[in-house]
Symmetry: C2
Subunit: 271 residues, 2 copies
């Protein structure tokens, strides 16, 4: 673009700017303009700071969730709907996961497994291996309260997609000799078949065991149930080198493993 | 401001804009301008998206730190210097803390302490009660590696400022009858006096005990040392209802307390 064209463009912008200023000018216009200018200035400042008030709050909220400061919540704050949407589908969620998976690779470089077929890794399933993003997209990313029946219908379809970076490290771990255990609170009787199918159709093959909640563990909290299963694995001689989940209840309790890795999940909380 | 004054102002801005555009115009100017325009456009897009590539990475990094996925790091990534600076001094750090303190208030509403003088709360000191922000500001917010001698000199001055929201909950806890224990890895012999003074000059008065690292615990990791002290408190009959710190090593290990609260700290890592 030539220099004079740019200048013409700037003059047009100037003209539009001045006419916009004039539009609301009238008898009572002054206050309106001041208000408008104020809100434009504060919006500009928000954009420059990268945060609107609501985004700033939702970022704090998300951070508090990930650091396990926020517990027992049933829905995300309604004002965070769009923020969580932006986070989940705008790229940052994937970036966050990639950086965590990088930490797993870095950790792997520092350990020396015994290679006696008892070196184990544990992965949670929902939103660790398989993403329920499509399901939560239709539930305002967690603004709607959890509905167990609806979720069961969704999970029965076996249409959850693999989380790519997790699938990659899953293969790597099997390749270097770890026994990968998939440990999920999903009900074995009603969701067993669909879960196995979904894992296969997303490429999760070669794991050692898929451990689902059998009738005797119904009613136990995820943390209690998973602690008990890990205790049994320990008893069978397994050493849990790593434990990966999107919920703190996957990673806390007893026998949590040598290292835990918390994947992000701002959409729901499992106690 | 009158309408004509605004118009004059806009014309001046226009003039400045055009002259700036002209400055780099010359024989080889075209490429410079294109580059400038490109970088201005991408910067604008970054601002609109709220993230530059570097900001997106640093946000992932900060999230990984807070979720305890990133361990044993000695300095923050150099490209995150400005991001961490913006976070620490731009308001979001304070907002994050406030939301966590809100969770403490909410938790307090749900508990029924025994009121037998054995209901305890534990607070860490550095960057939990007292902020070392001024110190780290001069060390590029954690880009420079930790220097124990330098830090000791800083801490000896007793010039750290209270973190206001923490001071507030500190008073509230004492008011409702908790015995507040301050538990710090600071060396008792060399920093005892300065720490007591600093706490007093920042308003931290009325706590039950300040427990500093005595010679017998030198060399222990923060996690081991603090677990051992908490074990002793348990033995003395105390029930730890809450445990607040900026490091995961304050909150992990044994006898961690009924609830833990992780305050943000993207500037340094204590094992």
């Amino acid at each position: 673009m030539g220099r004079w064209k740019r200048e013409v463009l700037v003059i047009i912008i100037l003209y539009l700017l001045i006419s916009t200023m004039g539009v609301t000018e009238g008898k009572k216009g002054r206050r309106n303009i001041n208000r408008k200018r104020h809100s434009a200035v504060s919006r500009a400042l928000e954009i420059i700071n990268g945060t609107s008030n609501s985004d700033a709050y939702c970022l704090s909220w998300r951070m508090a969730v990930e650091a396990n400061n926020m517990r027992g919540w049933r829905t995300i704050p309604i004002q965070c709907w769009r923020h969580v949407q932006g986070y989940m589908v705008g790229g940052q969620y994937s970036r966050d996961i990639s950086l965590i998976i990088d930490q797993i690779y870095a950790y792997l470089d520092t350990v020396s497994p015994f290679a006696d077929s008892l070196d184990a890794w544990i992965f949670d399933v929902d939103d660790t291996c398989l993403s329920n993003l499509f399901y939560y997209q239709a539930r305002r990313f967690g603004c709607d309260p959890y509905n167990p029946m609806e979720f069961k219908i969704w999970a029965s379809k076996g249409e959850s997609l693999a989380i790519p970076a997790v699938l990659e490290i899953f293969y790597r771990l099997i390749e270097v000799g770890f026994k990968v255990m998939l440990l999920t609170g999903r009900d074995e009787e009603t969701l067993g078949e669909a879960t196995v199918e979904n894992l296969v159709n997303q490429g999760f093959v070669g794991y050692e065991r898929l451990i689902m909640r059998s009738p005797e563990y119904r009613g136990l909290s995820a943390m209690m149930y998973k602690s008990e299963i890990r205790r049994q694995l320990m008893e069978q001689g397994y050493r849990v080198w790593g434990n990966v989940g999107d919920q703190w209840s996957d990673l806390q309790g007893n026998y949590t493993g040598d290292r835990t890795f918390k994947l992000p999940n701002p959409m729901y909380f499992v106690p």
